[in-house]
Subunit: 364 residues, 2 copies
């Protein structure tokens, strides 16, 4: 098996270094972008969230007129969950590795949507519960063969949580070195709405009833069981909501940890990161619990159908760009939103000003 | 001046012919598309509105797996309004021709967003109140130098309304002949939220207070005046809400008529048409008042900030895809939504099935 075996001391140091590199947005670039928006040939504010996004991009990149982030990658982290044994999903666990191979074959939802917007799909095995054949398109960074069943103890050790965070950091750094200018987050892992709901309940402070949804489409009985499972996991583990790593280790998942690592590394490198749906939202909660300054680098892609997503977004004070009734995960919503972020940058960079175009402004 | 001078008898016949060519959606293609969605490697229904859009496209085109409509055009109709004399806009009327030249120069918001999604921008002078220099990129189909002031009588004659509808039909047919597979609607015309609000009030049945917004950004006093102007226009003209052409002629505008013509011609040719914001929504109200079967061919792009847009969308039973705080018009929201519609078609056509990918389905 191809377990990643960096020393936990090194991992902890890497994580600390990344977190301390995350700075605030560049206020002067934001001010310049805001001022430029006011000179473009349109009524002030009439492009709404596109204008806001362009200003956020200026702040993230520290440039008055940021280049449109056309080199984009959706990082799809795959992992399995011991809690799947509790019957919380409609699908069997074997679907996780099967979908990994669908991703590399190009036939999954994320492949279709990423191709449409010109984004790469980077598939990472951070904890699939199966030995996967080696393949050049799979980053093999397995921390373990799935998490432990969190109703019986912590899903992972603290060291494993930090390792999985570092997997995300490593993948993000590799992509940034290759020129990636914007990330989307994506997930695959049967049963992963269960740890995501647990993380949302603990970090954002919702009750398990209020943040637990039907995932792939479970019925009422299975939903009641899922809520009970989450309550037991929280009761058994007593995660500390002020300690993001503790909470992640006790009731999280490897792919969620990996995505939190991507978020932290992107923020440290001043690269915007588009957050997909409920699982990615849980990863954002973890990342911001570890380092709150990461929040400014997030762009929320879409409002998931999964009920707890709203709680997560509200806690992070993020307003999703799209509301298309999606609940697939994989980064599908993020791929679509990346195109909107690119549009926003192009509006700021490419629109004519009133002066350039010889267009009269508003009446005095 | 380059007025279009087709006989009104010919125009009326053309319009009748287009309206009678509009049929219902193809139910068997929709059923096939719906069934295929259930076989793709994702939980049933998990791509929400993308799935619905793909099924609508199947019904529109009459094909079980419709080709993604990659050849796309945003038709930007430009016209002026006699009612601008009543001080309803923040901008002077000269901005209409100035923006026409900004469109053909490529520097307007619609140019940037259309380029991003690969859509052509087709600019049509259907009633700008200025003699425009001839230019290969401007379709010169001027019906008149702007409408009359609708507070003092009808905005246009019934013959002019039918002519302007036919301008839209002509442009749409030209583009369909050139291979266009999906349209976006766009508008330019200083003061055009005023006739759009009047049309919305009459056809969708809202009160002028409830459907009149701030347009380019007018203050409270100007808003009160605008509501009063709309009330007077309706009182003076007494448009018949059951007669779309009568209502259009009395309180509409040339660019709105042109867009209604595009909608009708697209529906007749079984081509989907993405409706931009408030002005395009008013055009959709007019088109569907003339021929209700056109409604099935509409895809609502975005929820405009302009308050009456919600009334129009509710009346048409359309739920906009995007909610990005836009209120620019020009087809900007339509351009973004075209890309989403293309995504939806690609999902249906390109995703692997459970059987193809060897992925296990839901547990029994």
């Amino acid at each position: 098996m191809n377990m990643t075996t960096v020393s936990s001391t090194t991992d902890a140091a890497t994580l600390d270094q990344v977190c301390s590199a995350i700075g605030p947005l560049n206020e002067s670039a934001m001010e310049a972008a805001r001022a430029r928006q006011g000179t473009l040939t349109k009524p002030a504010g009439s492009l709404g969230r596109l204008e806001e996004l362009s200003i956020q991009l200026a702040g993230i990149t520290g440039t008055d007129i940021p280049e449109a982030p056309m080199k984009s990658a959706v990082i799809v982290m795959a992992g399995d969950h011991g809690v799947a044994a509790e019957g919380v999903s409609l699908f069997p666990q074997e679907v996780t590795p099967q979908m990994v191979f669908t991703f590399i074959g190009g036939g999954a939802g994320i492949n279709v949507l990423a191709r449409h917007v010109g984004a790469d799909v980077i598939v990472v095995d951070v904890g699939v519960a199966a030995e996967l054949e080696e393949h050049p398109l799979i980053r093999s960074k397995k921390v373990a063969l799935g998490t432990q069943n969190m109703t019986q103890g912590p899903a992972m050790t603290r060291e494993q949580a930090v390792r999985a965070l570092c997997v995300g950091i490593e993948v993000a750094r590799e992509q940034i070195d290759a020129g990636v200018q914007i990330f989307g987050t994506g997930d695959m892992g049967i049963a992963n709405t269960t740890p995501s709901a647990a993380l949302t309940a603990v970090i954002a402070g919702g009750s398990p009833e209020d943040v637990t949804g039907r995932g792939t489409g479970i019925d009422d009985d299975a939903l009641n069981n899922k809520v009970d499972v989450i309550k037991r996991a929280i009761a058994v583990n007593q995660p500390d909501p002020r300690d993001g790593i503790d909470t992640l280790a006790k009731v999280g998942g490897f792919e969620i940890a990996g995505l939190a690592g991507v978020i932290l590394a992107a923020a440290a490198a001043r690269v915007p990161v588009v957050i997909d749906g409920f699982i990615s939202g849980a990863a954002a909660l973890v990342a911001c619990a570890i380092e709150p300054k990461a929040k400014s680098y997030l762009i929320p892609a879409h409002q998931s159908v999964e009920v707890g997503h709203k709680t997560a977004m509200n806690h992070l004070e993020l307003k999703p760009l799209l509301n298309l009734g999606l609940r697939l995960g994989e980064g599908t919503g993020a791929a679509m939103a990346i195109s909107i972020v690119q549009s926003a940058a192009k509006i700021l960079a490419e629109m004519a000003t009133f002066a350039d175009a010889g267009v009269s402004g508003a009446k005095e």
